[in-house]
Symmetry: C2
Subunit: 484 residues, 2 copies
Amino acid sequence: VNDAGRLSIDETVERIKALVGPKGWVSDPNDIEPYLVEPRGLFHGATRLVVRPASTADVAAIVTLCAAAKLPIVPQGGNTGLVGAQVPPENGNNIVVSLQRMNKIRAVDPLNYTMTVEAGVILADIQKAAEEADRLFPLSLGAEGSCRIGGNLSTNAGGVGVLRYGNTRDLALGLEVVLPDGRIWDGLRALRKDNTGYDLKQLFIGGEGTLGIITAAVLKLFPRPREIETAMIALANVDDVMEIFARARAASGDQLTAFELIPRFGIEMTTQHLHGISDPIAAAYPWYVLLEISSSEASGASRAKLENFLAAQIEAGLVVDGVIAASAAQAANIWRIRDGMTEAQGYEGGSIKHDVSVPVSRVAEFIRTAMAAVEARLPGIRPCPFGHVGDGNIHFNLSQPKGADPKGVDKAAYLARWGEFNDIVHGIVAALGGSISAEHGIGRLKRDEITHYKSPLELDLMRKIKHALDPDGIMNPGKVIAAE
Amino acid sequence: VNDAGRLSIDETVERIKALVGPKGWVSDPNDIEPYLVEPRGLFHGATRLVVRPASTADVAAIVTLCAAAKLPIVPQGGNTGLVGAQVPPENGNNIVVSLQRMNKIRAVDPLNYTMTVEAGVILADIQKAAEEADRLFPLSLGAEGSCRIGGNLSTNAGGVGVLRYGNTRDLALGLEVVLPDGRIWDGLRALRKDNTGYDLKQLFIGGEGTLGIITAAVLKLFPRPREIETAMIALANVDDVMEIFARARAASGDQLTAFELIPRFGIEMTTQHLHGISDPIAAAYPWYVLLEISSSEASGASRAKLENFLAAQIEAGLVVDGVIAASAAQAANIWRIRDGMTEAQGYEGGSIKHDVSVPVSRVAEFIRTAMAAVEARLPGIRPCPFGHVGDGNIHFNLSQPKGADPKGVDKAAYLARWGEFNDIVHGIVAALGGSISAEHGIGRLKRDEITHYKSPLELDLMRKIKHALDPDGIMNPGKVIAAE
């Protein structure tokens, strides 16, 4: 205890350990390691303590102790984030609060189409619990077997369901949050309509743990799909893709659940490098779209819609070829092309990645402009623009030129130019009114870069909000926005 | 100019007049009157100046002058709000900034399914512009011919499209806002995905003008409906209503666009008092639901869905009778019952109103409990619970007992008990985890009442946000939250 009657950092750490008991903390270097590295290995932090509370009350007690000692906290869910928000800094001065033990589904209310879950529930477990109640929780992404809903909420995760069901933000009706001073905000409302003041939950969703620790949430559920129809269509010209999308929305009765762009390069890579994938269309075309329609009503209408749509667009000359999956296996083959692109691209050498969005109407313009710009900078570079073009979100990934050594010195030299190509691509994105982080967030990776793309006024507003809720800056400091 | 070199209030007002020119301000008492009274006559304010800027730059210049002189501002759109947020206080110390002249549609982008509009555009004009681009802007409410989108955004308006398309919050992709210090925040993004920091627009949506003045917005559009089918169904028991709703969501492929509860009292009032309305079902039942399915694909599927659903629920015993509108005239008749209830209730004497919501699964429990409670307090009272039960939102309106004088002294004595019945009903709402203002907001009318239903912590958070963005409290002071 120091002169001011405050606990020292060491004493605070001991109090926290005593509070949660032996199952509630980790400090052995080997056991701590998995909490320190993020999936792509971009950051490797350090910490003296990982604490694993089992209840909201414990989280609140921990944060209260940390607030008194001004001991900074890094909240962590499944540690699958791609921008380093969940990794402690290298100086070891932050403790990690892992929500993994808070993994209870508190309630499922099928008639209200809602579920109340703790922050540490794994996304796939939420999907399963919804299905058991004959409902759908539509958030779906690559890491769903290990990511946790608190992290999904904190990063406003996207994924493949956004087109029909929205981002994670759109799927939350209420939150429970431990504030930076240790108080618990019970905002666990299960209401579709509530206009009683500022919608505070919106600050914590997408806040990347910098304004408080989300401990529980009320999530929206939907009717479970009873029929799903999948098609792959080929386009002569990428400029047609948005007109096709607009027509598909109307023709499907707005029941499109996927509209994913795939370039020819994507088909070639996946069929060559991955096992058991075949090209579903005999001839080769420059651009493809994976298109899915689903419905909670099993009437065969989805298939009819897809057939009519495809016939009309071939007739109109917008679609040059296409196939509707005749079986679950054929649908799975099409989806494996889409989902396998990142893995397949690994076999082609270094890949410089971008997670960007533009207005949906400017997707083709973005692709054309950005491809020309990167090809001008490095002849032979192989762009692979793919993904959720129905949301305006393109994963604009660039493989190193063919023929260069895909592993050794050429790869390293190529990847050393990551920032250079980011600048080119993000400049085009900004000129088109787009976003340099569509899904993944800011964290540490893009914290300094966004200062070039956001107005000083917006950064100032963000800092004001941060300061209002966390005046001592103990909640995930150095993420999203730098300290003043 | 005072000692500190600051303009006086009088000088500031003169500067503002000079800035906007003779067309840009109103100060004659007769001309000012329409800006001072709200639709139900609950508040009658005073002001020395109504200023009507024509551009965002003018709004910014006005707010900059007001900020320097600490002259408070009441932003106003179409002046249709029901909680007094848009009315200046009686002391005359605030000026009114009306956005009515900022009524330009800046851009329509059908391929992006978006539209960029200024705050003063009338809602019906936005709907029309969307239709001309073969799109739908789904926000729809009683005042749509005179309310303006800036007000709709500031109150997060609900209306009849919420079930399918969400509240106004869900329909906005970006905002332009003049902050309380006069700076302009250009957040006019047209993106479906953008995870680059705190989602600041969420603060101004539903902020009722207390954090800044919304001057423009990017709105989401949808495919235009090509077929709309309407039915009226009768239930034996209000307890069945939510099970029927859950089944209707799934059976319609989640294409329900209305699910509105109507009590027998509503049918009797509207057919008796309003012109040309007939009871669509021959026999009398205690409860009815207006049910609408629509689709952007004209295939006849909506009618088939509705027929199949109705047959299945009659077979299952949940629905006791029903009719599907066979013509546009029949559909209009059903909708006139729903929309005519407030007007018809006026002929039945005093009506004490509530705009509440509960979780959708608890709607029947709420109705039963609240009806019993008000009938116990005043035997003969005639509850008319109706409205958007698909959103959990019930307009729980109470007509005075039959036989009492519907106009004179009995009505006045009945309406004098408004607060007493609010307390009863809101207490039940709170116990069910509901909201005492589902659609209309807080404004002045419910500002003090919410302090009984929100935690001190939540009110404290709201105050912190208010203070962070508007430290001098010049933006619509005294609305939503009281000053500290």
